[in-house]
């Protein structure tokens, strides 16, 4: 049990941050992460399209925490996409068995969670289209709370930093330190959502 990796994708699919969160995290280079980021972005968009619950303008809005939504159907199409996505790039950890889970809290549409035999991937999409994606070993709890806390840190440390440009890679020392701090806290005692 433990967190593996955090990556943040901007609204056009560019990777703006990736950070390894634990010793068990796979060693993948930045170029690979760029590819994973944009592939996830595309899959997310496909999943949103495939969703049976749709509102006009392709915007599935809803209450931030509770309503909804966009139950990702395991259509064969999406399933195949995800399978090829994960098996080509992500972790080669058998056995594969996938389940799409739509849960409360988090994104309005697209993929919220992907479960694999050796990894869980959880995504929080903000209103402006930035996606915070956290991968962890199965059985790790508190992914949602951590993601929300990372969202808070992003709004504090990156968006209020005069030297950070929107949609550009995050190079704020304060943010990375705060994320490390948060993960330590989550591993030792859990994070209470604010």
């Amino acid at each position: 049990m433990g967190f593996l990796h955090l990556f943040i994708v901007n609204k056009s699919g560019g990777l703006i941050l990736h950070r390894s969160l634990g010793p068990t995290a796979p060693k993948i280079g930045t170029n690979e992460w760029l590819r994973i980021g944009s592939t996830f972005h595309s899959l997310h968009a496909i999943a949103a399209e495939a969703s049976p619950v749709k509102l006009p303008g392709n915007k599935n809005s809803g209450e931030w925490a509770h309503t909804n939504i966009a139950r990702v159907t395991s259509t064969t199409f999406v399933r195949t996409c995800v399978l090829s996505f994960l098996s080509t790039i992500l972790f080669l950890l058998p056995p594969w068995h996938f389940g799409f889970v739509s849960t409360i809290a988090g994104a309005d549409d697209g993929i919220e969670q992907i479960e694999g035999g050796g990894v869980i991937l959880r995504c929080l999409q903000t209103r402006t289209g930035i996606k915070f994606v956290l991968t962890a070993e199965p059985g790790t709890s508190g992914l949602d709370a951590v993601l929300r806390e990372i969202y808070v840190l992003y709004s504090d440390c990156a968006l209020k930093d005069p030297f950070y440009e929107l949609e550009m890679p995050i190079r704020c020392e304060l943010f990375t330190n705060a994320v490390d701090n948060l993960i330590d806290q989550a591993m030792s005692g859990g994070v209470m959502p604010r």
Partner: protein, 210 residues
């Protein structure tokens, strides 16, 4: 006339210390505006030192106005004429009115008699700022040093004030709860405002000493 009178002219001015109802500004609001201010000047500055100078001059005018405001609001109307008392005034009254707390310490330089240092372990202006490595020695608190210079100049103590970011040594500063912003780890650097008085200010102070 009752204190809760609705007419703005009848209402008392906020108390010094900035704690009066309605006179406290949200830190986020300040951070966003300050961030824009820095970006505005960064686009127009060719070098790090020019950026600092621009921020200082933006703060300078604020300093002059802040001095007037604090002097007006003070209970006893007194003009500071001595070097040490104006420094105390800056590090306590001015700091409290601007940031809601006094500066952490006021020190005299060992090497130079004309230099003093005002130290703040949690400078508000740079709360959310991470200075990128390519900007090196830039201190994001240059704006505040401009304010200090404005206050001192307005009071008749012309001085050159510069802000420096200095690494905090282990165990030098410990505060319960770490950083005042939840979730963000404690700060590793402090802001040192180096005040270098002009020679005439020092000679005047020496003359008053006698």
């Amino acid at each position: 006339m009752s204190r809760s009178s609705t007419n703005i002219l009848d209402r008392p001015l906020g108390r010094p210390g900035g704690r009066a109802e309605g006179s406290v500004v949200s830190l986020s609001a300040f951070a966003y505006i300050y961030s824009e201010l820095v970006q505005y000047h960064q686009q127009r500055a060719a070098s790090i030192s020019e950026l600092e100078r621009r921020l200082e001059s933006a703060g300078y005018v604020v300093g002059l106005k802040v001095l007037e405001m604090i002097a007006y609001r003070a209970k006893e109307t007194k003009r500071e004429t001595r070097l040490m008392s104006i420094l105390h005034f800056v590090s306590s009254s001015v700091w409290k009115s601007l940031f809601g707390k006094a500066a952490d310490s006021l020190e005299r330089s060992i090497d130079h008699a004309d230099e003093y240092m005002i130290i703040d372990y949690e400078p508000i202006a740079s709360t959310f700022v991470s200075v990128p490595p390519d900007l090196g020695q830039l201190s994001a608190d240059a704006y505040v040093s401009g304010i200090v210079a404005g206050v001192l100049d307005g009071a008749g103590f012309s001085a050159r004030v510069t802000a420096h970011s200095v690494q905090v040594e282990e165990g030098e500063y410990t505060k319960q709860g770490g950083n005042s912003i939840p979730g963000i780890p404690p700060r590793k650097d402090k802001a040192v405002f180096l005040v270098k008085f002009s020679p005439e200010v020092l000679s005047r102070d020496a003359a008053l000493e006698r």
